[in-house]
């Protein structure tokens, strides 16, 4: 089925790959540093996800445009230059229009530069595909990354505070699990969600 899809339509293949088959965090285990650091609440997770989508799409476009002139010894240098540029642009916009969120995310926005997902897509997709396919790939992968962040953040925020988007979800009698807001909560949630994803993967259709 997957092979047929790949032959027939590379765009839908890119969407399926980004959103499920190779979803960066849950299937490829890439980009796990920010998912542990910014998923204590949904708002910062969503903001981080949007920044990653912006950087992925823009760097994919630029790498795709340069693909015919890429030389092996400057390849990684060009990818890093491109990614660093768009991460800096995202960071500047965040500091200008969302200063509080910029403070909450702290160094994790500049650290998108070293997010493996972005350089992976530059190498695996954008450096050997057309601009349109690279855009679709960037959007799908970015969306997959954002969904993963939001799933973890939703679980952690609800169990850690009883709230979601600062709206009370659980009964006030529920004792908030403070550990969910700490790194231990991030590791536990990530482990359980990965286990669930593996269960779904192995389950016969």
């Amino acid at each position: 089925m997957a092979a047929t899809l790949e032959r027939q339509n590379p765009y839908s293949e890119a969407v399926v790959t980004g959103l499920w088959r190779e979803i960066p965090v849950f299937r490829m285990l890439l980009g796990t540093c920010p998912i542990l650091a910014v998923t204590a609440a949904v708002k910062p997770a969503l903001t981080m996800g949007l920044c990653v989508i912006f950087v992925l799409v823009c760097s994919n476009i630029m790498v795709s445009l340069m693909r015919k002139g890429l030389r092996p010894h400057v390849r990684i240098l060009l990818f890093t230059l491109t990614i660093a540029t768009f991460v800096t642009i995202a960071d500047l916009f965040l500091r200008a229009y969302q200063p509080r969120m910029s403070e909450v995310l702290g160094p994790y926005v500049p650290l998108i530069i070293v997010n493996c997902v972005i350089i992976w897509r530059a190498e695996a997709r954008a450096s050997n595909s057309g601009v349109l396919l690279s855009i679709v790939d960037g959007l799908a992968m970015g969306l997959g990354f954002t969904i993963a962040l939001c799933v973890l953040a939703t679980i952690r925020e609800i169990l850690g505070t009883g709230k979601l988007f600062e709206i009370q979800i659980l009964p006030t009698a529920f004792p908030a699990w403070a550990a969910m807001g700490m790194p231990v909560g991030a590791f536990l949630t990530f482990g359980f969600v990965l286990g669930f994803i593996n269960y779904l993967k192995k389950k016969p259709a």
Partner: protein, 209 residues
């Protein structure tokens, strides 16, 4: 020689071109959003200043004064005059210390006569959460509130009482570098700002604020 040059151009023209494009993109973005970022910083400074001198109604920036930065270079710095009912209630300025991870920018406030510290708050800091980050907490900050604008001494936990308001500051356990950065910033900048305001005749004998 010419062959080498041709080879260099052939191999690296894309890198040079991409660097130019990226440079232009960054410069354009910075030009577009830079003023807004500065406005945000100014708004944050004012918000923090309100917390330090709640009685103040306005914070009027004075003409920039020349002070020496941590690197020894002369730099221009702005002092804000905190005013309430046409009366000066304090002075606010930015001080910088070398923290564990990066520079720590603090907003410091002193009383109208520049005799006592009204407090400080953290403007930017990348200190380790739950360790150096505790310079933002009341335990540490309150040691400066009401202390004389003299040279501060940093001592270890257990050697002095943090609740005593004097020039002895008790460090945060496990965050000596961050604690020292705050003391260093105060010791380095406060006397300089005091001297500049005295020169301008805004504090001290015969002052006319």
């Amino acid at each position: 020689m010419l062959d080498n040059l041709k080879r260099f151009v052939r191999e690296s023209w894309l890198l040079v071109a991409a660097s130019l494009v990226c440079g232009v993109l960054l410069a354009a973005t910075n030009a577009a959003v830079g003023p807004r970022i500065e406005l945000n910083k100014a708004a944050k400074l004012t918000n923090l200043a309100v917390g330090l001198l709640p009685e103040a109604k306005t914070f009027a920036p004075l003409d920039p004064v020349e002070i020496q930065g941590l690197d020894g270079k002369t730099e221009k710095a702005v002092v804000f005059k905190a005013v309430a009912d046409d009366k000066v209630v304090g002075w606010v300025f930015k001080v910088v210390g070398s923290g564990f991870a990066d520079k720590i920018e603090l907003v410091a406030a002193v009383d109208a006569s520049f005799q006592k510290i009204a407090g400080y708050d953290v403007m930017t800091s990348s200190e380790t959460v739950n360790f150096g980050d505790q310079i933002k907490e009341a335990y540490y900050r309150n040691q400066f509130v009401g202390a004389p604008t003299e040279r501060f001494n940093l001592v270890g936990t257990g050697t002095a009482k943090p609740e005593l308001i004097d020039s002895t500051i008790v460090a945060i356990s496990g965050a000596t570098i961050s604690s020292a950065a705050v003391v260093q910033a105060m010791n380095y900048y406060v006397p300089q700002f005091k001297e500049q305001l005295e020169k301008k005749g805004l504090i001290g004998n015969g002052s006319n604020p």
